[in-house]
């Protein structure tokens, strides 16, 4: 088994547009371990959904991975040959982009090859999961189809049984498998889609805003459900969301994206305990909490950058009250936060792309003050 389940190195994704190209993911690296939950958080247009979709080549037709690698461990490679037998020799086969430790570069797979990976190794719960079910097929049959298509040779009766088991597992009566999607409530649809995504027991589950359209009580249940499924099946998850409180509750580690760049990543606890990037600090300031009375919410001045023609410096520089000259010249690399705080450990547990890490404590202190963020013109 390799060190990580998923290892994304310096990924660049490009969308071809009428004007200049757009780079929604610009040199992002991250790792997800076996059985771990990793959260990608950021505002709309920061590139988080694009990053998630690029893993299994689900980008829109005008988008492609320009450079970078997406190494994946899982149970790959398990391709079948013409006779339907599983081939174990693909590591030596130059046709497959496999590395010595057995990881495969998903970015270089052909469309046919990546189709085998989808569902079986990596499943996606799409953003509009409530519309993901086909209205003219029975819910159970849709799960059966996912199973038989991606695990050819599976007996239909067996697949039916599995579909019913899965529905029951997420708290839906077995008999409801014969219902159509419109007979399900919103929460049930969401749970049915989650059940469907687990149909071929993938190693990695990508959930794009899994609870955004749901009411709070249903959201609560779905999060509970995701957690217990994860414990049971030991599946790793990549959750994409704009809601930092959902992230705080569900993720082991998380990454904060802004303007196509990873701004901060690390263990969830460390990111909340010692937030080390001005953008994350600003984001937390602007989030109301139900727990306590807040004197004043502070918004980040300005608006998120368009991804067309980004400036050469830090993506956040125009809105950052802590920007110095250096920030205008180049986007900062990821620095080890613990080392900057003088608590270096062997393993890097928390990184931040910011040139001001050296005076982190001062930055944190100032960021808590409203006047710090008011200096610039508000929009």
């Amino acid at each position: 088994m390799a060190d990580h389940l998923l290892e994304i190195n310096d990924l660049n994704v490009r969308y071809r547009m009428d004007g200049p190209d757009v780079h929604p993911v610009d040199g992002v690296s991250l790792t997800v371990d076996h059985g771990e939950t990793f959260g990608l958080v950021g505002e709309s247009g920061c590139g988080k959904t694009t990053l998630a979709k690029s893993i299994i080549q689900l980008l829109d037709s005008n988008g492609d991975v320009e450079s970078g690698e997406i190494w994946f461990d899982g149970t790959l490679p398990a391709w079948t040959d013409e006779r339907g037998e599983v081939r174990r020799d693909v590591v030596e086969d130059p046709q497959y982009p496999v590395r010595e430790d057995g990881m495969t570069n998903l970015a270089e797979l052909s469309l046919e090859q990546i189709r085998d990976v989808r569902w079986r190794n990596v499943a996606l719960i799409p953003q509009s999961a409530l519309n993901a079910l086909n209205p003219v097929y029975k819910v159970g049959d849709q799960i059966v189809e996912a199973i038989t298509r991606h695990e050819p040779g599976t007996d239909v009766e067996e697949a039916r049984g599995r579909a019913r088991d899965l529905l029951e597992r997420v708290g839906i009566d077995r008999e409801r498998a014969d219902d159509y999607a419109h007979e399900f409530s919103g929460g049930m649809k969401q749970r049915a889609v989650i059940a469907m995504s687990m149909a071929c027991s993938p190693d990695l589950l990508i959930a794009d805003e899994p609870t955004t359209a749901l009411d709070v009580i249903i959201q609560d249940r779905v999060l509970d459900e995701i957690k217990s499924l994860q414990n049971e099946f030991d599946v790793a998850m990549l959750i994409v969301s704009h809601d930092i409180s959902v992230m705080a509750e569900t993720c082991d580690r998380m990454g904060v994206m802004y303007g196509g760049k990873m701004m901060e990543s690390g263990t969830t606890e460390s990111i909340f305990e010692r937030t080390a990037n001005p953008y994350t600090l600003g984001l937390r300031n602007s989030f109301p909490t139900v727990e306590e009375d807040q004197e004043q919410l502070v918004s980040i001045p300005g608006t998120p950058p368009t991804l067309r023609d980004p400036n050469p410096g830090c993506r956040f520089v125009d809105r950052c009250p802590f920007a110095v000259e250096e920030c205008r010249d180049s986007h900062p690399p990821m620095y080890d936060v613990d080392r900057a705080l003088g608590e270096a450990t062997d393993e890097v547990a928390h990184e931040s792309a910011c040139y001001r890490l050296d005076d982190l404590e001062q930055v944190q202190e100032d960021a808590a003050k409203e006047e710090t963020w008011l200096q610039q013109t508000t929009h």
């Binding site: 409180s245 139900v290 918004s299 608006t303």
Partner: protein
């Protein structure tokens, strides 16, 4: 609740039922109509200068309530009265002239600034339109000045620079500010805001919320702030109302309701809000099942079908949890529970086993978070609950078994007759109105009677009587 000064808005017995006309099929079958009860009898008042938050899940009627207040809907029943400083309006009974004036004094801000602005109109056209319609200001010059002033007020400064922009040239935050300017330009007294920031990005949101707070001081506004996001309600509102299936089930000062919700539904709603603190282990919402249809809401307290604290009849000897389950089983029997959908095959298994299985599944609470499930529920592979582990008193158990026997024998009517008059909670028969639940909070829940309080005055709520 009424004070010496008249409240700004007084609402009495307000109802809005949709789809009330009888269709051909209903007329032929003589079944009568089954309208959607979006707002089902709300009575409350809003004081001058209040920011009243209305929270609840989708379909609870909060948006309908907002639209009724600004007369975008006409109520099916009930009255809405506005007491402005110089005039009183009875919204259900206005002359044309009064209505014109009323429409200038109350405004509404909609959820989606990408939808609510006409893409073919410039910012000036959009914001000045209410002035033209209400025939305010005589000349173009005056109108233009007023528009620029308002744009500056909403943070689109300098306003001149925005006048000729089209919506698609603006960011989401700017668009919503234009929508706010359009509401503010006529200098209203009362504004209904329907999820005003839910379409905006987080870093932009706080700015718009703070703007709305500033405008309240500047324009002397009273807001009705509709949101599903309880953290936003907490931040914006001094009063909060919680709605469920068309009923206002709790109303009072925001701080008290958030810290110490009185109605079991409010409690569940607040428990369900995620907390931005990875080290905290949050309590989850103790609610079972899904929201019933507003076409056919449950009798009595509409929440009784899902409530953890459903009140047992006098003389109930078992635990609260056991009663909640028994009441659920009873409802299932009355709704046509049968052996058909059981895991076991009724033909192949002995009747005893089928009966136990029926009870075991019938007594299970659906979709309860793990922490509230009975320990025997967690261990059982085939689902259901271990009936012997539940604290159901012997005589009650006998009734349940007799009922189940009828079902095993295939006689659903006999089963229903056996259990119909047993285990009747007053939550099912009596419909609670808003009543005093603490010094300042009102809740529509039978746990409270005037003067008799579940929780002590120091504000510590009693723990739910669940195991």
């Amino acid at each position: 609740m009424a004070t010496a000064d008249d409240p700004l808005v007084e609402v009495e017995g307000l109802k809005k039922w949709f789809d009330t006309s009888e269709g051909v099929i209903e007329r032929l079958l003589g079944t009568g109509t089954n309208p959607v009860r979006a707002v089902d009898g709300a009575s409350f008042s809003i004081e001058r200068g209040d920011v009243m938050g209305v929270a609840g899940e989708s379909g609870c009627g909060k948006t309908t309530l907002g639209k009724l207040l600004v007369k975008l809907y006409d109520p099916t029943e009930g009255s809405i009265r506005f007491h402005f400083d110089d005039a009183t309006f009875d919204v259900t009974d206005m002359t044309r002239e009064e209505e014109t004036e009323f429409r200038q004094r109350v405004q509404m801000i909609f959820q989606d600034p990408f939808e609510s602005l006409n893409p073919r109109m410039t910012v000036y056209d959009t914001v000045s339109e209410p002035l033209r319609i209400n025939e305010m200001y005589d000349s173009y010059q005056e109108r233009r000045e007023r528009v620029v002033e308002t744009l500056n007020d909403v943070g689109l400064a300098p306003g001149d620079a925005y006048l000729d922009s089209f919506p698609q040239e603006l960011s989401g935050g700017e668009r919503q500010r234009v929508a706010i300017a359009r509401a503010m330009v006529v200098d209203p007294d009362f504004v209904v805001c329907d999820e005003p920031v839910s379409m905006l990005d987080v870093s932009i949101r706080a700015g718009v919320l703070n703007l709305m707070k500033d405008l309240q001081d500047e324009y002397g506004l009273t807001y009705l702030f509709i949101s599903h996001d309880l953290s936003l309600i907490r931040y914006m509102c001094n009063k909060t109302a919680i709605m469920y299936l068309g009923d206002m089930i709790e109303y009072g000062p925001t701080g008290e309701i958030v810290d110490n919700p009185k109605h079991p539904y409010s409690e569940a709603l607040f428990d369900a809000v995620p907390v931005a603190d990875p080290t905290r282990d949050r309590k989850r919402a103790n609610v079972t099942g899904d929201i019933p249809s507003p076409r056919n809401p449950p009798s009595g307290c509409k929440f009784h079908t899902r409530c953890a604290e459903i009140i047992p009849p006098e003389g109930w000897q078992g635990s609260q949890n056991a009663f909640r389950r028994v009441s659920t089983f009873r409802r299932r029997v009355l709704n046509g529970l049968s052996t058909e959908n059981l895991d076991v095959d009724p033909e192949a298994e002995p009747d005893d086993r089928v009966r136990d299985r029926l009870l075991s599944e019938g007594l299970t609470l659906d979709q309860l978070p793990e922490e509230y499930r009975h320990e025997s529920e967690l261990g059982m592979d085939e689902g259901g609950v271990d009936i012997s582990a539940l604290e159901i008193p012997g005589d009650a158990m006998a009734t349940l078994e007799e009922t189940a026997d009828h079902l095993v024998a295939g006689d659903a009517d006999a089963a229903a007759d056996r259990i119909r008059s047993e285990f009747v909670s007053k939550c099912e028969t009596d419909r609670p109105d808003l009543r005093s639940a603490s010094r300042s909070v009102e809740a529509a829940c039978l746990l409270y009677t005037e003067g008799d309080r579940r929780s002590s005055e120091d504000g510590t709520a009693s723990a739910p009587a669940d195991d």
